[in-house]
Symmetry: C2
Subunit: 330 residues, 2 copies
């Protein structure tokens, strides 16, 4: 299984987690995703020690390496165009989210994927975070009843960020970049039965990062008459113990399940709060390679991922316009 890396502006490091877990895995090359990107520091640190060569041009690399799988994490506005080119060449794609920054790019990517014959996995790595996987299974198994009220949270440190974050054209916005994980959890936990979204965001107090929104909120009306909200911010203090503070709480008439601090807690009518067992697993990229190789089911399907990405862009549209934006009719 030959793997090539295009870009180092996101979570391409997820691919490294599969080393030693998947047989016959070969990292064969790396290239920048565009002229604006310098991937040499990441290459020197992460791939050079493994003897993986650096190429000047990603298309040239694909011509020469002929990889089975591309790990695509360029500047964000290039995610869709690079992925489309990989699909056109018959290369499976492990793609940084949100996958596309504008609806036109998302539709072009979806059309290319539907017209091709490759596997695609977005870097929705938090579905592989053990506590979120455990909570999802509790909901899926009906342990809380029908989820009627859900709240998710993504809170990150502001930290130092490259120039790509400062412009909407290259960054896409905080709702698609950070919020998409929470949007994904809500879509996942509710089976995508989301009728519309009402969202707000602001660039106030954004540490001088240009257009970048410091924070925002989304409210989703669910097909089951319930509601879900998502809180997103870059206000996690520097002195906080971790970079991120990821949470979800889902409640229904049978119980409540909640993820916080990397733990999943379930409480039901008959059972006081208890920690759910967590499974570590091999991670998203190892599972994707097995999916490519043998068709093993993946925790996220490509069609579902496109739906999540579309919902992220509609959420941003709602925040930009102030209007409630319809999503699905069910």
């Amino acid at each position: 299984m030959k793997v090539a890396f295009i870009g180092a502006s996101g979570h391409q490091g997820l691919a490294l987690e599969a080393v030693g877990k998947v047989a016959e895995l070969e990292f064969r090359g790396m290239a920048a995703g565009g002229p604006e990107e310098d991937v040499t520091p990441w290459h020197a640190r992460s791939l050079a020690p493994l003897g993986v060569p650096l190429f000047d041009d990603w298309r040239d690399m694909l011509d020469r390496v002929k990889p089975d799988v591309a790990v695509v994490a360029p500047w964000f506005h290039r995610q869709a165009p690079v992925a489309i080119e990989c699909i056109r060449r018959g290369i499976h794609v492990f793609l940084e989210k949100p996958m596309a920054l504008v609806p036109e790019d998302l539709e072009a990517l979806r059309a290319a994927w539907r017209g091709g014959s490759v596997k695609l996995c977005p870097m929705f790595a938090l579905r592989w975070a053990p506590a979120f996987w455990a909570a999802y299974q509790a909901v899926r198994d009906g342990l809380i009843g029908e989820p009627l009220v859900l709240h998710a949270q993504k809170s990150y440190r502001m930290g130092d960020r490259s120039g790509l974050y400062a412009a909407r054209a290259t960054y896409g916005g905080t709702i698609p970049w950070v919020g998409i994980h929470g949007i994904d959890w809500i879509h996942w936990f509710t089976g995508g039965r989301i009728l519309d979204v009402t969202a707000r965001h602001t660039a106030r107090d954004n540490g001088g990062f240009g257009d970048m929104e410091s924070s925002g909120m989304c409210l989703f009306r669910l097909g089951n008459s319930g509601t879900a909200t998502l809180s997103i911010d870059y206000f996690r203090p520097a002195a906080a113990p971790t970079h991120g503070d990821d949470r979800i709480r889902a409640a229904g008439s049978r119980g409540v399940v909640e993820v916080m601090d990397g733990k999943a807690v379930l409480c039901t009518a008959s059972e006081p709060p208890r920690l759910l067992d967590l499974e570590a697993g091999d991670g998203i990229f190892a599972d994707f390679l097995r999916h490519v190789r043998g068709g093993a089911p993946l925790r996220v399907g490509a069609e579902e991922a496109f739906s999540v990405a579309e919902l992220a862009l509609k959420s941003r549209e709602s925040a930009d316009t102030g209007r409630t934006v319809p999503f699905r009719g069910r």
Copy 2:
């Protein structure tokens, strides 16, 4: 200070907390707030041991006892009319929230209060919960910067409920009854700078309690460009350790403050998470009596309380209609 009780359908028990804390406090009588209400069990348990007589008719009681203060907690649709009658008689009012179930009643109450000369305090007792008070002070003192993203939670057990809850006409809805506390925190923490509200609610899985909404969510657009959300549900499981699970989290560029499990935690850029010191205080009713007696400032002003009550009714209107409802212009 002569006190009379009208109704036993809410948090009239808050008045008992002032016993032994306020000098010359005399409970002089109790009566039902209407023919639908049987206050005898609560009277027998709480006031009869103190020798407080039960009256057949609350107006007759007011004529005879001439109280300084009325504790008003009838069936909810009678809150405003009873309070208006007390104000007309020059009696200070400690009034169950949401104070009014329809805008017309709220406006009549506000007009009566503005035209009278009595003190009024809504039973926003959670402003006196030590952790919420500590968190409020942290926000007020600028420790988190401008709050740009807030999320509040009210989660209660369904439990057994009287018939008043089953009909909108007597109950008012879960947003005004349960949600108003979270609406109050958000109004309080943001200085009431709220531009509009978008809310959803549902009566699904409500345990057979008629119209009563089992759950809902509100999203508030703030005057500072931030956003606040509120989650409300009756899905707290019977096996949970407490009746309620009250929370708020407020974040800004300087830090995050959060209330959960009766604790308040602050984290800033320079300071890892730490518990805020909590003050027990004497409670809302003792403070109200001091306010009545000497004009000492109260944690909630009547005008502010009317604004919160109005926002609760507008939130319900948004949930009923599906539309975003304007609130203030600032």
